[in-house]
């Protein structure tokens, strides 16, 4: 396959292969990178099939079903140590936020008051959003230095501090998606519309059909 051969002369591929050698996985890796099931863009014949390993690394944005979550687990207790070491400086000892950084804890029951306090505890409708953001973008200035276990533990700590899960609850691929966030039904339209722009006026949804206001008990 001409096209795939070209690709294996790129620096990226060479690095991959040398890595693979180190792991005595060379035959498998080389096969995935250059051998089987190569597809290209029809008509133009450009592009190549990503390797399994590439797919795994690129496919890291986590959705509400948690399909992209890696194996691993953590509890609030484990998270507390990590949090104290890596997050307090900006988000405060108890997640209250250190000016000008955001609070991660608190705010429940305030959304329909003039003192609304929007935190991932009071506002965010899915726990996966928290996991995803910590995993890809935190801690600021040392982004993507946390292991999956770390991220599960830190998410557990934030959820437990907000009273959403128990201190002892283990967060993993399966339990995280089952967490019921208090503001799960605080947004509309739900699910969000995906209408093409030509069919929608610019007017805010606020001005369109509106569900009943939620109770103050939240």
């Amino acid at each position: 396959m001409g096209a795939s051969k070209t690709h294996c002369t790129t620096r990226y591929c060479r690095i991959r292969i040398s890595l693979a050698k180190a792991n005595f996985l060379l035959p498998v890796m080389a096969l995935l990178a250059c051998g089987t099931a190569m597809a290209q863009l029809p008509i133009y014949n450009v592009g190549r099939t990503p390797t399994e390993a590439e797919l795994r690394t690129w496919d890291n944005v986590v959705g509400p079903d948690g399909k992209e979550l890696p194996p691993g687990s953590g509890t609030a207790k484990e998270g507390a140590t990590l949090y104290a070491a890596k997050c307090v400086a900006c988000h405060g000892k108890d997640g209250e936020g250190v000016f000008p950084y955001r609070a991660l804890v608190g705010g429940r029951g305030t959304l329909n008051t003039p003192a609304a306090n929007l935190t991932v505890g009071s506002y965010t409708p899915y726990a996966t959003t928290i996991w995803d953001f910590i995993n890809r973008a935190m801690p600021q200035y040392a982004e993507r230095t946390l292991s999956p276990d770390d991220v599960y533990a830190l998410t557990a700590w934030i959820l437990a501090k907000n009273g959403i899960i128990k201190e002892t609850d283990v967060m993993d691929k399966n339990t995280l998606v089952q967490v019921q966030m208090p503001n799960r039904h605080g947004f509309y339209p739900d699910p969000p519309q995906a209408a093409p722009d030509k069919n929608r006026s610019w007017l805010p949804y606020w001005n369109q059909a509106k569900p009943a206001a939620k109770s103050a008990a939240k």
Binding site: L41, W58, D59, P196, K198, S201
Partner: protein, 464 residues
């Protein structure tokens, strides 16, 4: 830290104090603020020699060219504390000419100033998820594909919002003199000619599977910005762009590859794009939850409101200018809309009593700035000038008070000057996607003031 009323209010309060920390320490030379890149960090005086062709250029100096040393316009660094929150350079709209923004004046929003400097030979774009053939493309391959060049505006969701005005006020109170409403409050919009591959071409090629309805685009920047975008929009007019105004996209704008999502709020236009995943629902990512949502007084919030409404601004004369005396002037400005073409711009030079159709620069591009012009003889008396636009679907730009009504605020003008701050604080107007008519007050001495944010004019202001 309790944020008041909503995210935006919290943002304001946190910001105001931050501005106190930072901007207060900026020294002034001849009344001109020294620029700081990050508030608190003094970078040195704005170097207006930047990009200038030397008086006696060598041939080397001319290989990339420069401008005349008499030209001083620059994109100012962020007013107040907004800079610390990632909102950075503002386009000098007061000096805008035609409809194209030079890349060097393009506004910049970026959490980190540590912009990646990506080697295009190393950059790839992977399209995966609910597709028949997941594929990875090199930049070289992307550039071999059929391309389009289109003129589109970009606009930050928070542009023209109250947070910008508050930030500007804070700076002015602290003596910073290089800030104006036209640039400091409205300057987060720019228009460029963008060149790249229609995303629909790539999506058809990889074979989007049944059931896919959204895509998740992710960038290679430090904060790995990612955003859910409706598939219908992607198939309609989204571009995977590598060219801007006849050259490669600048680093600030996402070199070597970015998404251009025409007419949608800036946050959708993922820079340094490296991954596009086809999925069956939006992913409720942080920039579509903790920010860019609107919390209403009853505790319910709206989300995924992406499309910029019809909007126009008089850029000359505006509060950055002073008219030397009575006589002829050409009023000039820009109008744009996230939904189709601008079809009409009206200008009033008498406080909103009467309106005249302005001339629209041709050709008119969809979802791009349209330049409008109107000849005007100023008789030297005080007046208020303003513009309002209509798009091809008949959507009309609202006044701030009409916007307030849309947001459920029924209080009617006039609002006494003493109550304006209070009105703003308690109004339920969204901080996002603001598109109010911007009136400018022309004073008898030729100076020009903002007549929107610092005052809610009693009638006659846009009668009826």
């Amino acid at each position: 830290m309790n944020s008041k009323l909503s995210d935006r209010r919290g943002f304001l309060k946190r910001g105001a104090a931050l501005a106190g920390l930072a901007v207060g320490s900026i020294p002034f030379v001849n009344g001109k603020a020294l620029a700081s890149v990050t508030p608190g960090l003094i970078k040195g005086e704005v170097d207006t020699k930047l990009g200038v062709t030397p008086d006696e250029p060598t041939i080397q100096d001319l290989l990339y060219g420069g401008r005349s040393s008499y030209e001083k316009t620059v994109a100012i660094d962020s007013i107040g504390r907004l800079g610390a929150l990632g909102l950075r350079n503002l386009t000098p709209l007061q000096d805008s000419i035609g409809v194209i923004t030079p890349a060097s004046f393009h506004y910049l929003v970026s959490r980190d100033l540590k912009l990646p400097n990506i080697d295009p030979r190393e950059h790839t774009l992977m399209i995966h998820g609910m597709v028949d053939r997941p594929l990875t493309f090199t930049m070289e391959e992307i550039k071999r594909l059929p391309s389009v060049s289109r003129v589109y505006f970009l606009e930050c969701t928070g542009n023209s919002g109250l947070a910008h005005y508050k930030s500007l006020l804070g700076d002015m109170k602290r003596g910073r003199k290089d800030v104006t409403v036209i640039q400091g409050v409205h300057g987060r919009t720019s228009t460029s000619e963008w060149t790249g591959v229609p995303l629909s071409l790539l999506l058809k090629g990889v074979g989007v599977q049944k059931g896919a309805s959204w895509l998740i685009a992710e960038g290679s920047d430090i904060g790995r910005h990612a955003k859910s975008i409706p598939l219908t929009k992607a198939m309609d007019d989204v571009i995977v762009a590598y060219g801007q105004n006849g050259e490669a996209i600048r680093r600030e704008q996402g070199y070597p590859l970015r998404l251009l999502v025409p007419g949608f709020q800036g946050v959708c236009n993922v820079k340094f794009v490296r991954s596009i995943k086809l999925v069956d629902k939006p992913y409720y990512l942080r920039p579509e939850i903790s920010a860019y949502t609107n919390l209403h007084p009853d505790g319910m919030a709206t989300w995924y409101e992406s499309q910029v409404g019809p909007k126009s601004l008089i850029t000359f004369p505006s509060d950055a200018h002073k008219l030397p005396g009575r006589g002829f002037y050409e009023i000039s400005g820009i109008a744009w809309c996230g939904r189709g073409k601008i079809s009409r711009v009206e200008v009033s030079t008498d406080n909103g009593w009467t309106w005249k159709d302005a001339n629209l620069q041709q050709p008119i591009f969809s979802k791009a700035w349209t330049r409008f012009r109107l000849p005007w003889n100023w008789d030297g008396t005080e007046t208020v000038i303003m513009s309002r636009c209509t798009n091809e679907y008949g959507d009309i730009q609202p006044t701030m008070l009409e916007l307030a009504k849309l947001w459920g605020d029924d209080r009617t003008p006039p609002i006494p000057a003493s109550e304006i701050e209070q009105w703003w604080e308690t109004s339920s107007i969204s901080e996002f996607l603001n598109n109010p008519i911007q009136p400018w007050r022309v004073k008898p001495d030729g100076s020009i003031q903002d007549a929107l944010y610092n005052t809610l004019l009693p009638n006659p202001y846009f009668p009826g």
